[in-house]
Symmetry: C2
Subunit: 120 residues, 2 copies
């Protein structure tokens, strides 16, 4: 987010990571590609119906530039393009998993701490 690692060299590991995966939809995209791979653009759109196409493409481009995903174009008509995680991209699995896990914990925590009155 904001300052990209290509413009700054004195980053902590955490800031470096966040500059790459911090985009609004990037974790979601990586999550999709961990579920199934490769995926075509139109398939990713089905997974993520809330993202508009323009935005999705932009985030995919950035991930490609950062070498997190690979993009393979098949010279056919109508066009076919496949996206998949690179080797370094696949290594993001623990990040995505820990985020999902914590989200589960947090949801349970919210459920516990909400509407206590209605129980009593």
């Amino acid at each position: 987010m904001v300052i990209h690692y290509k413009e700054k060299s004195f980053f902590t590991s955490k800031d470096l990571a966040l500059s790459v995966i911090g985009g609004r939809w990037k974790i979601a995209i990586i999550w999709c590609l961990l579920q199934q791979s490769p995926l075509r653009l139109s398939e990713i759109q089905k997974y993520l119906p809330d993202v508009n196409q323009r935005m999705l493409i932009r985030q995919l481009r950035e991930l490609e530039e950062d070498q997190i995903i690979t993009r393979v174009v098949y010279p056919v008509v109508p066009p076919k393009v496949e996206y998949q995680l690179s080797e370094i991209g696949l290594q993001l699995e623990p990040v995505v998993t820990s985020i999902c896990d914590w989200g589960d914990h947090f949801r349970a925590f919210l459920d516990e701490n909400t509407d206590k009155k209605s129980v009593e």
Copy 2:
């Protein structure tokens, strides 16, 4: 980021988590408080000199609202306020750790794949 869980109920765990920890400086703040706790505002500022105070306070407020951190005010002059991670906040440790770890991997990856010409 953007849509907060308080305004939307049909979130995936991942989106729920990201709506809470997705802010520009939140992982950094959580990282600080995992290193040392409690911390006063002025101490967090020393850890994170790039964040301006206004921004830092805003992110702290949001984390507090989301119950990730606790804020204890001591009624003294000059004021003293201590921040620390809540129980659910402490459980973010694997998230921060996996991000840092991946950042390390990614840096190594970048180092390997940069300036190959100068080596040959």
